[in-house]
Point group: C3
Chain length 322, copies 3
Amino acid sequence: MAQIIRVTLAELTEKTGIEYRGPLLELTGLNTLQNAQEGEVSFLENKKYINDLKSTKASAVFVTPEMADIVPDGVIALVDEEPYLKLALASKLFALSIIDEDAAVAKIGEGTIVAEGANIAKGAVIGKGCQILSGVSIGPDTLIGDNTIIYANAVIYHGCHIGSDCIIHAGVVIGSDGFGFATTKMGTHVKIYQNGNVVIEDDVEIGANTTIDRAAFGTTLIKQGVRIDNLVQIGHNCIIGEYSVIVAQVGIAGSTELGRNVVMGGQSAVAGHIKIAPFTTFAARSGITNNVKESHKVYGGAPIMEIRTWLKLQGKLARLVK
Amino acid sequence: MAQIIRVTLAELTEKTGIEYRGPLLELTGLNTLQNAQEGEVSFLENKKYINDLKSTKASAVFVTPEMADIVPDGVIALVDEEPYLKLALASKLFALSIIDEDAAVAKIGEGTIVAEGANIAKGAVIGKGCQILSGVSIGPDTLIGDNTIIYANAVIYHGCHIGSDCIIHAGVVIGSDGFGFATTKMGTHVKIYQNGNVVIEDDVEIGANTTIDRAAFGTTLIKQGVRIDNLVQIGHNCIIGEYSVIVAQVGIAGSTELGRNVVMGGQSAVAGHIKIAPFTTFAARSGITNNVKESHKVYGGAPIMEIRTWLKLQGKLARLVK
Amino acid sequence: MAQIIRVTLAELTEKTGIEYRGPLLELTGLNTLQNAQEGEVSFLENKKYINDLKSTKASAVFVTPEMADIVPDGVIALVDEEPYLKLALASKLFALSIIDEDAAVAKIGEGTIVAEGANIAKGAVIGKGCQILSGVSIGPDTLIGDNTIIYANAVIYHGCHIGSDCIIHAGVVIGSDGFGFATTKMGTHVKIYQNGNVVIEDDVEIGANTTIDRAAFGTTLIKQGVRIDNLVQIGHNCIIGEYSVIVAQVGIAGSTELGRNVVMGGQSAVAGHIKIAPFTTFAARSGITNNVKESHKVYGGAPIMEIRTWLKLQGKLARLVK
């Protein structure tokens, strides 16, 4: 992502209504405790991540009063009863422009065909031998490799990367905002601006009207050789392993990781923050709510069980009503 | 909606093949028995709504011969064996133009950016400070508030209203026709033209490729502060309460009403004509087929049960196959 | 489809790495054993279709060594351990151009309105009295009948046919590639180019953001009078019978055939290669994995059972946790 946004700690504390007196810092973004680097701000609300707090490299962290003492030396504690809400308020300061007038003119590689009515924003860089059909929208600072085909009316938001030899079908949306917000005590919602991006590696095919959300921070990653069917939803910060096969109407919630060659049958779904071992297969309409640690197994049902068990259960249920 | 369509009762009876001799009336639309006003035509086919017939303010009503005597004084009975089919035939007479050449030039507020390749029809009125990206289509007589962002290739049909501070993601379709038709005895279908609209209040975010259908008559209403994820389907005449959260791939069938702060997990679905109490939460893939009257409860399963009961049932089923 | 592609058998065997010495043939396409005509190439990998091999009219067939002797006289056996993978490699030779610069200028019938910003490719033929709204993309060599309405940003790929009196809502994608590939022993995928098309007969309405995939070979067929709701997925080579009703978010996997007047409730799904008898009704979220042979029945559940049985089962399960 070519856009770089800098925010001073003073602006951040003013915007989030937190009292702070201390060193003046320049901040470059938000991130998880685990992934944050110097210059980044993080947060802790769920005690489950307390060890991540102890080892974080973030420069500042939103925490509750009871956690303030655990913040490591050298990390600034931004103390508030509602750290996640403060993070949401802070996220707006780092929001990327969706129109980037300062970017350079788009670069289009040799042999690439851009149909009339396609819209390529400033700052985009497109490789050689691509076909970009009518009505396609490519956002600012988006990079596309060589020999990639993007069918009519697909939309790639700002700052995303698409590899070479990909096929993106009509109506696909890549890089729309992840579904992130903090809810206040009054029940209203404060948007967490999604300042990450989507990276799609080489040789990926994505079916019509599928949606892949950009990361809140960091990257939603679709690895090499993945095949995604139509009307699939992939949430923010997911990682889809190499050569995985995602059949139509599957839903994958945020921050879930699939190993390589995972197969998800039609209309199946995975909850958020789940890890699936490589070479796992899920039957159509499976519902996965726990990690799968062992490779090369086949599952069905919701919640999932091994496919033989699930078939046995269907037999038992059929006998119940005979 | 700026378009006003007037049809005489003579045209209506001719078009629907109903014999009628009586006063000459000018009709302004179709509506339910309950909501119809003077000048509107309604229908009764399902006896369940017989009390609505007794108190209707409609000027004329399609009814079966056996219901003809119950039509109140002053309301014209349009008698036919298939009232719903006649309504379908009549609906075409009130169909709104999807291209309105007579409308005034669109008004675009101060500071609003309309990207090249966006299409704004005559009669549209857009507020201040909006960002309308490439390929967006805004239909005739559609109104949009201030500071709303509409991402590439979203489509807003004619006559819809979008509030201020909304974010509409790429590929969203607002105001497409509800799924309405009458089926003849031969098994063919006659379209019920969807002459209502969609109203979206302020501070609503709608995820990529979500679809929200216009009302058959009246309005499909998304209230203030609602958050809708990607690939969600909201049927005609639904009302979604304030600050409700609708996760990806949810389906809500026609005429269903959600109270405020209802949460619907991913891939869950509600049948048509259902009412859900405020502050109700449904787990992913819940299937709701009955009204929920008590607030602040959590449900799962299809058909739904309280979440603890559902978890208990899963335990029992797991033991069945051990 | 106006595009005709000819490949010599020599090119085909070179591309797929198969040793062959024999007569020089010119090939016109790929097809199933059952539907192949003279000049076409087919394959057999699943022994279930061995009788189709015996009666095929294909000119050449990819087969495993153990099947080579069963190939009928006059049909050329292209022998390989992985016939399906070879078919995938061969399919690229027959891929249709998605941009057809050689085609004639598009023909637009009398009274048809094409909005500014719609893109109609060379070789397309559109009938009389149609309305084509902004951002619509109509591919090369696509045919559209009379009085059809295509709403904003819908996409019809190359070589598809749409009948008269159809209504195609915004964001619909017709003719995108079916989800077809062969997987190598290494777990990588080789695309099967989808060289067939989609044919939609007269009086069909298709809801917003629905996707209908083109056939691998031959045609995906939506018959007269069908009603399809929003966000539905219809796989390659499906046949949807006359006047069938497909409610929102339904998924129909490849090569499945529905008889006339089949009703599929919301979020229901059918596996691939299934046949459903006419006048069958499926409740919402049914999951169909076997053929339905008897007409006029109603089913629910996944896997499906008669609706009364399914309701009885729900009652039993509810009692389990009381």
